[in-house]
């Protein structure tokens, strides 16, 4: 450690040290007099004998800027008078104030700004957790421990909702249940003569159902993994001692599964906290606000101080819940270490329930994947909703020309905006994913190779931090940092660069973890072997480290790419029409009530995300389940 603290002289110092070293070789008498100096040179040479230290230092600066500075700026914005608020805050712009905290948390409109959305967020999250557990737990058990029909097929099929953007299902819901509260095309039920009441068409009920179906795969994956690694012998020993199956379930299986279950609950909670798209599509028409949409509204109405407070609150809740999760995971390790050899898990025959169980799984698949996608597809090829006569079907919304509409007079595939949005998606998300993949590998390299312990632990933590911050709050942090020129960095709002930066930082948790584990697995030996044979740092990187880590690099790039394609909450804050990506483009189409076009765009996104995920699974021979869970 000491060695590195004393090896940070400036550039001039370095050259003078070199000179000194040269002269000291020639004159051993000086050497004796200045014993301290050679020692400095020595530490310097050892410390910088490879560029790991330099790269490490650069990475520390980079991530401090990409992660810590935006968040600090955001928090600072919450307590500083913003432009235009001087009169209301009764203070000069740029001075300290409690005005925003007061306004958001205690003023007469605090109810609408914060408390009501908070209660909505919490009640939606509770509902989502309850429903997804009651669907996910039985399915997880059926998939991992029973002889249900089509187990393998269901194991993939039931995860599909998680591969698709959550608001795909919100759009499908709107297509089916939309009523006269909002304008535009009728919902299917409405046109069949039944007007869905507001509580069914919009607000808490549909939001909860849709998010529950979307996050049930979480439970299936986490709980299923825990069940699979659960040693049947534990169960069997209890049976042999005379316990009934009920007692076994309650006293042996349940306590051991509890950590996995709690982990799933908290992850779902954290995800619900940052969920924007579904709430926007189904909550806003009836003024049902959650924290994320309230945050979005305060940004749209230029209340950046209030937005900062809200984002801070979301961040705080997110951090607390994930810290609890980290705690639980540590607790659960305690259980895991007890296990001896490889766990054996046995399949329970379902007997007469085999068929009903399979039907249950099929039903869930139908409701959570089949029906919504079918509705969306049909909605893009039908002129009048819910009219199934042949002449009502058309491909106009996809490839039509000279349509009789006010704007958007061609099918969506012929609209230049779609292609520019698609190109933006590829460009922005692709570049950001490439950056985060490369940076992830570099972080892994530095974390594993750096001899300076605080650098590795700092990098490890700072790159994981965005995971704790819901995307929309993170986006607001970037907005407040890059909205104006700060020092040498110009205002980036409105450029593609801000999206790339934010997305890169947002994806670092995944890519850095991939990078660290890949480098850990590789170990130091292959690189040191190259070093011994005489390879310098660059040569070792190019001929040994990067070629070996090719696979990890591909994964570290593709996974963020897929999650980036379907991401919405980050873009909705930071994108402007010229930097529209597919997700924000479809949102703009919805806002202008081009339902079919919007549905078509969302289908394109869903297809990209789905096939992308399959491709990654095939390339890397991994299971999606392993990438989850944290």
């Amino acid at each position: 450690m000491l060695a590195y603290r004393s090896t940070c002289p400036g550039h001039e110092d370095r050259s003078s040290l070199m000179q000194l070293q040269r002269s000291s070789r020639n004159k051993p008498t000086i050497l004796a007099e200045r014993r301290r100096r050679p020692r400095l040179i020595y530490y310097f040479k050892v410390g910088w004998k490879e560029p790991t230290a330099i790269i490490g230092a650069l990475m520390v600066v980079l991530f401090a800027y990409l992660v810590i500075v935006p968040i600090v700026t955001l928090l600072h914005d919450a307590v500083e008078v913003q432009f235009g608020d001087a009169r209301r805050a009764k203070s000069e712009v740029g001075t300290w104030t409690f005005y925003y905290l007061y306004r958001t948390l205690a003023s007469p409109i605090a109810q609408i700004l914060f408390w009501e959305p908070l209660i909505h967020t919490l009640s939606v999250a509770t509902g989502v957790i309850l429903i997804s557990l009651s669907i996910g737990v039985p399915l997880a058990w059926l998939l991992s421990r029973s002889d249900m029909y089509g187990r393998r097929w269901f194991a993939t099929a039931l995860i599909v909702p998680y591969m698709l953007p959550s608001w795909t299902f919100a759009l499908a819901w709107r297509t089916l249940f939309r009523n006269r509260t909002v304008g535009g095309q009728q919902g299917w039920l409405e046109s069949l003569g039944f007007t869905p009441p507001d509580w069914l068409a919009f607000g808490q009920v549909p939001i909860t159902i849709i998010l529950a179906l979307h996050y049930a795969p979480f439970v299936i994956l986490l709980f299923g993994n825990a069940l699979r690694s659960f040693d049947s012998q534990l169960e069997e020993s209890a049976r042999i001692l005379g316990a009934s199956s009920g007692t076994v379930a309650w006293q042996i299986i349940f306590p051991l599964m509890l950590p996995a279950l709690l982990s799933a609950i908290i992850l779902i909670f954290a995800k619900c906290l940052g969920e924007f798209g579904v709430n926007y599509l189904l909550g806003l028409p009836v003024d049902y606000n959650v924290l994320a949409t309230s945050l979005y509204r305060s940004i749209s109405s230029r209340q950046s101080g209030v937005a900062a407070v809200l984002a801070g609150a979301i961040m705080l809740i997110g951090i607390i819940s994930l810290l609890i999760d980290a705690r639980l995971v540590r607790e659960s390790r305690r259980f895991v270490t007890v296990g001896g050899k490889g766990a054996t898990s046995r399949i329970s025959p379902l007997g007469m329930y085999r068929m009903p169980a399979s039907v249950f799984a099929a039903l869930i698949f139908l409701v959570s994947v089949g029906l919504p996608l079918l509705v969306l597809v049909l909605s893009t090829v039908m002129r009048i909703p819910a009219d199934f006569s042949i002449e009502n079907f058309t491909l106009d919304y996809w490839i039509g020309q000279n349509l009789e509409t006010v704007a958007l007079r061609t099918g969506i595939l012929l609209t230049p905006d779609l292609w520019s949005a698609a190109w933006n998606t590829l460009r922005i998300v692709g570049l950001a994913s490439l950056c985060s993949g490369l940076l992830g590998l570099m972080v892994g390299y530095v974390v594993v190779r750096s001899r300076v312990r605080w650098i590795s632990s700092f990098l490890r933590h700072v790159t994981f931090f965005p995971y704790l911050v819901p995307g929309i709050a993170f986006a607001v942090a970037y907005l407040s940092l890059f909205a104006v020129q700060r020092g040498p960095i110009p205002a980036l709002y409105g450029t593609g660069l801000i999206l790339i930066l934010a997305l890169t930082a947002d994806q670092m948790p995944y890519s850095s973890r991939a990078g660290i584990s890949a480098m850990m697995q590789l170990g130091k030996d292959p690189e040191e072997a190259a070093q011994i044979t005489g390879a310098g740092w660059l040569r070792r990187m190019l001929s040994v480290v990067i070629p070996i880590q090719k696979g990890a690099l591909v994964t570290g790039t593709l996974l963020p790419f897929i999650s980036g394609i379907k991401g919405l909450s980050l873009f909705v804050v930071l994108a402007v029409p010229s930097t529209d990506v597919l997700t924000t483009y479809s949102l703009r189409l919805i806002d202008s009530n081009y339902t079919q076009a919007a549905n078509a765009v969302v289908l394109i996104i869903a297809a990209m995300a789905y096939f992308g995920t399959l491709a990654v699974q095939n390339i890397t021979k991994t299971n999606l389940a392993e990438g989850l869970g944290g």
């Binding site: 450690m1 070293q21 000291s24 070789r25 050497l31 014993r35 100096r37 050679p38 020692r39 400095l40 040179i41 020595y42 530490y43 040479k45 050892v46 004998k49 490879e50 312990r453 170990g523 030996d525 292959p526 040191e528 072997a529 190259a530 070093q531 011994i532 044979t533 005489g534 390879a535 310098g536 040569r539 001929s543 040994v544 070629p547 070996i548 090719k550």
Partner: protein, 365 residues
């Protein structure tokens, strides 16, 4: 002139206890030097320090007269410029390169002309018997073959010293024996100076020209295998080397055990060291055991003891004697003429005794 010289070498990590402390060692040209010791004794650290993968905290390292690492003089030569070779315990073959590319890597770096490079690679691979695998990838090779590739990769660049870090520990017993012979042949053929790290005393005995025994970061003894075995400089070396292990009989602080009493009486009578001896070591094979009372000899320690166990090991027998509660192990190459539970006579010639003082240091007889 020694090829490698370590003087006052100390390496400490963040801990207070240094991994290696104050190590002085000279390794001559063409030697096969073994660093022997239990795990965690600092032998691998010593190797890594020679290779330059770790820097020194104190001291100096020279190879062929050239200072490579000295914090006092401010000199540190990075590993890639030291011209040493290191075979890792894990072999560390590059999984993305074929066997031939693995072997030729170092020569390519040195920009050796293609013709010469091919010759040298072919020669080394031929010598090590891996020529037929040249187009395979490391994952398609067995452990022993990987081992040879790792060796070939380092030998081909003609290193000034070849460092081997427990290279045989990942091989099964049969293969290990074969590779041991192979290593000895390679050493003879290439004439390279070899520094070999192992915790296996057998390996050290059979392979090396000299052995350096280490414990807890410091050097215990340096000498030929013969010296290490026959005149261990302290109790640690005596106990670490030899299988079955040496019998150590305390003659001070003995709680009045009978064996200790007999031994003290004999040592006092024979060596006249009055009270300076702390313990006595007897190698199991230095003890003669018979069913009948042998003709007594003044210069021999002889007594009767109960046989508490006979452990056949195939070609030889290990006999456990019970002398009033304390065990004494004897190894025999003749089948014992008695059974477990019977009485037997043992005798030890005084030349078979190793004397250690109160600090555990060897005392000359």
């Amino acid at each position: 002139m020694p090829t490698i010289s370590l003087s006052r070498v100390t390496k400490s990590y963040d801990d207070i206890v240094p991994a290696v402390s104050d190590l002085d060692l000279e390794i001559g040209h063409g030697e096969f030097m073994c660093l022997l010791g239990p795990s965690g004794c600092g032998k691998s650290t010593t190797l890594r320090v020679i290779a330059g993968l770790e820097n020194l905290t104190e001291g100096e390292i020279r190879i062929g007269g050239r200072v490579l690492d000295s914090s006092e003089q401010g000199i540190f030569v990075p590993p890639e410029k030291r011209g040493a070779g290191l075979v890792f315990q894990s072999y560390a073959l590059w999984p993305h390169l074929t066997v031939e590319r693995n072997v030729s890597f170092g020569l390519r770096l040195r920009k050796i002309p293609t013709v010469e490079r091919k010759q040298r690679v072919a020669f080394v691979m031929e010598t090590l018997g891996i020529a037929q695998f040249r187009n395979r990838y490391p994952s398609q090779l067995s452990g022993g073959q990987q081992q040879r590739v790792a060796l070939a990769r380092m030998l081909v660049v003609e290193p000034n010293v070849l460092l081997l870090d427990e290279p045989l520990s990942n091989l099964d017993a049969k293969l290990r024996l074969k590779m041991r012979a192979e290593l000895k042949r390679i050493h003879a053929e290439f004439g390279t100076t070899i520094v070999f790290v192992t915790h296996d005393q057998w390996e050290a005995m059979t392979l090396s020209t000299r052995i350096a025994v280490m414990n807890e970061g410091s050097l215990q003894q340096v000498g030929s295998p013969d010296e290490i075995y026959n005149s261990p400089s302290n109790l640690f070396v005596a106990e670490f080397v030899g299988n079955p292990p040496i019998n150590i009989i305390p003659v001070i602080d003995d709680d009045g055990e009978e064996l200790s009493l007999i031994m003290r009486e004999f040592v006092d009578r024979t060596f006249n060291k009055n009270g300076k001896i702390g313990s006595v070591g007897i190698r199991p094979e230095a003890i003669q055991l018979s069913a009948n009372n042998p003709s007594g000899n003044f210069r021999c320690l002889a007594s009767q003891a109960k046989v508490s166990g006979i452990l056949p090991t195939g070609g030889s027998w290990i006999v456990e004697l019970d002398i009033a509660g304390s065990p004494l192990f004897v190894s025999m190459i003749e089948p014992p003429e008695f059974d477990s539970g019977e009485l037997a006579y043992f005798q030890v010639d005084q030349t078979g005794l190793h004397l250690f003082n109160l600090d555990g240091k060897r005392v000359a007889c």
